[in-house]
Symmetry: C2
Subunit: 219 residues, 2 copies
């Protein structure tokens, strides 16, 4: 039945985090414990836990005795993250080429077929979701807890611009094609080629965003 049995604290954390990453909150906004608690129907305790976690992540700044203020992910942060990801997704693909399981290869193949299908139909919403999953499979396949954690976070931090980027004509097709190249290299256990393809994929994503204009992607 997959009963969602998360604690209130986790639910509050995810809600606020999503709102920040989706751009619902803006940098400098104050997050008052009572307001959020009332909106979500919980007391201040789980809200505080969530805010403390968001502070650790750098998405929120807590000023003692004053309050919690949204930091969010700035344009500069996102550009930096793409440079970091270019290196780390490369490393991840390299390790995935060595460690990937047959089941993970199968899931990647299915992901690619679906991506190509939805790409041809112009279903951008599904493409974003499939893009999420493609990268997650690769993170998982790398076999590295730390690499998975940092890449998963960064992938989520750039969600907003990724959505806008994939929605633009042309980019989705290129992105899916690049995914296939990465997958082929990983399936062939060609670590160096996988690394290069993954690095190139992130670089070309960023270059596409340069062309589209970052201001348009941040709306």
């Amino acid at each position: 039945m997959s009963e969602d049995n998360y604690s209130l604290g986790s639910r509050v954390y995810r809600t606020i985090r999503d709102d920040i990453l989706e751009g619902k909150y803006h940098s400098g906004d104050e997050l008052k414990e009572k307001n959020i608690g009332d909106e979500l129907g919980v007391s201040r305790t789980p809200v505080r836990e969530a805010l403390r976690q968001l502070e650790l992540e750098g998405l929120v700044s807590i000023v003692p005795n004053k309050g919690a203020f949204v930091i969010g992910v700035s344009l500069q942060d996102i550009q930096d993250i793409y440079e970091i990801r270019a290196l780390l997704e490369g490393l991840c693909a390299k390790w995935a080429a060595i460690n990937i399981s047959d089941e993970q290869i199968t899931e990647m193949d299915e992901n690619l077929v679906l991506s190509e299908f939805h790409e041809s139909k112009g279903n951008y919403e599904q493409l974003v979701s499939l893009d999420n999953r493609f990268h997650e499979i690769m993170y998982e396949a790398s076999g590295s807890k730390e690499l998975k954690r940092v890449l998963k976070d960064y992938h989520e931090y750039v969600l907003r611009v990724r959505k806008n980027s994939l929605g633009a004509a042309g980019r989705a097709k290129n992105s899916t094609a690049e995914h296939r190249k990465i997958a082929e290299a990983i399936k062939a256990h060609d670590a160096l080629r996988a690394e290069e393809c993954a690095r190139t994929h992130i670089k070309s994503t960023k270059e596409n965003m340069d062309k589209m204009g970052w201001e348009n992607l941040m709306n």
Copy 2:
């Protein structure tokens, strides 16, 4: 006066975190809210906040309604982190070569002089502290919030093996010499050379640990 005016939650967080990173707690250890609170003289509330933060970091695993269990940083994690750091410290040095300020250059120079002094005296405790600071200056000089955050965390995560490594004869001298090379490249604003030197520095640190035997470094 620098009055340490942190909240209890922050203090508890740092205490538990240090204990985990120093190896005082071991993987699987249960962290009971009441015990920790009693030891530190605080109630459960700030302890819970700390545990939730540590969970986000991956240092602790929280099983709903059961408790918090230490995860820590495994040998495999540390080896992965060195590969990740090799890439990211390279990127960091590259950016530092572009963005470093005169004040930061001065602080780096002072750091190197002190390092060479304490290295010749065999003061390994000071060397660990100076090594911490050298890297922090570079993180700061990169001008990248995200890069700084991830590298700072990772540098702390490998504290235990770094201490043991620097304590061994020979390595401290090499490490300081490598720091100087990185600093020279950064000061010359030679981004590519800085990147290469920093990458090599981390690689050679890891190779040294390979030679020393990781088991000995994890005690």
